[in-house]
């Protein structure tokens, strides 16, 4: 039986200030993150003791400096929110790591709540900027000048599953899932071959198959081994190959299908070897083929296009679950995945209300046709960028959504609720509830711990090694019986 697919997404946003040629992105990010106000406002540390980004899933530890900021800098750069998310400054980008959720639908809700939180803080930050300037935020992955920033997914997995099996199963999957996960962009970067428009924002930046790095020589499979949970039981697969998506439908498939494939790997349901001869070359070729017809060479000598290869995965999932039960969300993901693959096989442009890269392409083509422009026109490049603008009034994805040209998965009410409510069914519930209830008595937080400073006592750190404990069902009574953080610590020790 596979491990429940607790998951999350970690999105770095693009940031700029219009009208300020000397804009410094790091101070801009600090301003942005600190402009977001929740009630209660606490000065909570991010607990770096619990982190180890240099551990490699292949079983070794890499030499290097671990980043640990001083206390003041730590508080200025990190916010843990009442919904259980981490909102912080990562290098020169604001990043939103959503709280742990148990399914793709909740993932959509919480990733979308992140967009609203960024937008709320953007508005607050703007009030502090000189007149004539405006901070703008983009949910994308590249400036189209060779600089990329990430959209990472994470999935809880069983430690017993050999990492080698994960790599084998995922390389062909990740090289091709972009046909329904890509966010699309004009042109090429990073010394790759020229193209008018490509499916993925990120494909140009992947240069190797498997590695620990995320900033240089990016790998299709990232080996960072930070389970943020019981190390003996779990691993947490850190996926860096995806694009930052706006379409709910696309986000839903991106996380939902990937979770299904990972469960399949854990259950031993990968019955075919679909290894590609050259996955790195393939990821770029697939991205450059909006027809989705180009054939890729497999190790076994077969030639399949990206859609056919995804169908091979779909068939394995269907075969595996023909005799097992699937929960309703997984079933729905499967249904839509199948639908999307059918459309892609006929004509990808059928997905102009579902899949980001197609939505954006259809919009740009209509615009070019009516205004007699081409892919190199600055207005069309502006369209490309502005699709990802998070201002509801100006962002072109939101314009499509308002016009009923974006198929929705969740409701506005669900998203609004998630801005200040943690998921009820993971430890994020305990984290968020403690911050909401005990505010400044919370001293530090990490994904798998929360510590309290109560009445001059030594700091008390509570470990949360099980992502599926600390849920509403588990802790509501405890929280109800603990009016203060002191009571909570006492009750936990009792």
């Amino acid at each position: 039986m596979s491990t429940p697919k607790v998951m999350g997404s970690e999105i770095e946003y693009g940031i700029t200030v219009r009208g300020d040629p000397d804009f410094d992105p790091i101070s801009g990010c600090v301003l942005l993150v600190n402009a977001y106000h929740e009630d209660p406002t606490g000065e909570i540390l991010w607990d770096y003791d619990q982190e180890n980004p240099l551990a490699d899933a292949r079983g070794f530890q890499v030499d290097g400096e671990k980043y640990t900021p001083n206390q003041q800098e730590n508080i200025a750069r990190n916010k843990t929110l009442v919904n259980g998310a981490r909102y912080y400054v990562d290098h020169a980008h604001p990043e939103y790591s959503c709280p742990e959720v148990t399914n793709a639908r909740d993932l959509v809700i919480h990733e979308k709540a992140g967009e609203r939180i960024l937008e709320a803080s953007r508005r607050e930050a703007n009030a502090l900027l000189p007149e004539g300037t405006e901070m703008l935020i983009y949910k994308n992955n590249s400036d189209r000048k060779g600089n990329s920033y990430g959209c990472h997914e994470n999935y809880l997995m069983d430690r017993r599953t050999p990492f080698k099996n994960i790599v084998e199963a995922l390389l062909p999957f990740f090289a091709t899932r972009q046909v329904y996960c890509g966010a699309g962009k004009i042109g090429a970067e990073n010394r790759s071959a020229a193209v008018d428009y490509q499916i993925s924002q990120r494909a140009d930046f992947f240069e190797t198959e498997v590695a620990l790095d995320t900033m240089v020589k990016r790998p299709i499979i990232n080996t960072r081994d930070e389970p943020h949970a019981d190390r003996d039981k779990y691993r947490r697969l850190h996926v860096i190959v995806g694009d930052a998506n706006l379409s709910e439908y696309t986000i839903y498939l991106r996380n939902g299908v990937t979770a299904l494939i990972l469960s399949l790997v854990e259950d031993g349901g990968i019955r075919k070897n679909l290894s590609l001869r050259d996955p790195v070359k393939c990821i770029q070729e697939v991205s450059r083929d909006p027809s989705c017809r180009r054939e890729l060479s497999l190790d076994d000598g077969r030639q399949l296009n990206a859609v056919q290869l995804q169908v091979e995965y779909l068939e394995m999932v269907l075969a595996h679950y023909s005799s097992r039960s699937l929960d309703p969300i997984d079933k729905d993901v499967l249904t839509r995945w199948q639908h999307v693959l059918e459309c892609l096989a006929r004509d990808p442009m059928e997905l102009s209300q579902q899949i980001d890269w197609v939505m954006k392409k259809a919009m740009m083509e209509s615009f070019m046709e009516r205004r007699d422009l081409d892919w190199s026109s600055p207005q069309v490049e502006m369209l490309d960028l502005q699709y990802h603008d998070i201002r509801p009034s100006r962002g072109l994805y939101y314009l499509l959504e308002r016009q009923g040209r974006a198929e929705r998965i969740v409701t506005d009410e669900e998203i609004a609720t998630a801005v200040h409510t943690p998921p009820a069914d993971t430890r994020a519930y305990f984290r968020g509830s403690c911050i909401e209830k005990y505010g400044s008595a919370v001293f530090g937080v990490n994904w798998d711990s929360i510590s309290f400073g109560v009445d001059g006592q030594p700091i008390k750190r509570i470990l949360m090694a099980e992502p599926l404990k600390g849920t509403k069902r588990h802790v509501d009574e405890l929280l109800g019986n603990s009016p203060t953080a002191g009571d909570l610590v006492k009750n936990l020790q009792a």
Partner: protein, 87 residues
């Protein structure tokens, strides 16, 4: 459950598209959907033209709306959008 026998090929007439429109009601794409285009079916072709006109009007409206919100000085704006690498 055998699916997608003819993936990469056009839909076979009469084939049951198993998941035509997921629960939330994927809209039927105008101009798609394979069958039902017998020659001489005037009524149907009239509907298609109407649909086509509507689609064109919709697209015109979309493009006008984009014009309203698109950043001015696109060339300058796009040129100035420079980020540091991340992750």
């Amino acid at each position: 459950m055998k699916i997608l026998k003819h993936i990469g090929e056009p839909s076979q007439p009469g084939a049951v598209p198993i998941y035509r429109g997921a629960e939330s009601g994927t809209k039927q794409q105008p101009g798609k959907g394979g069958g039902g285009t017998e020659a001489g079916d005037a009524a149907s072709s009239k509907t298609m033209t109407k649909k086509g006109d509507k689609l064109k009007e919709d697209m015109d409206a979309l493009v006008d709306e984009i014009d309203d919100v698109l950043e001015e000085n696109a060339e300058e704006f796009v040129k100035n959008y420079v980020q540091r690498g991340g992750e």
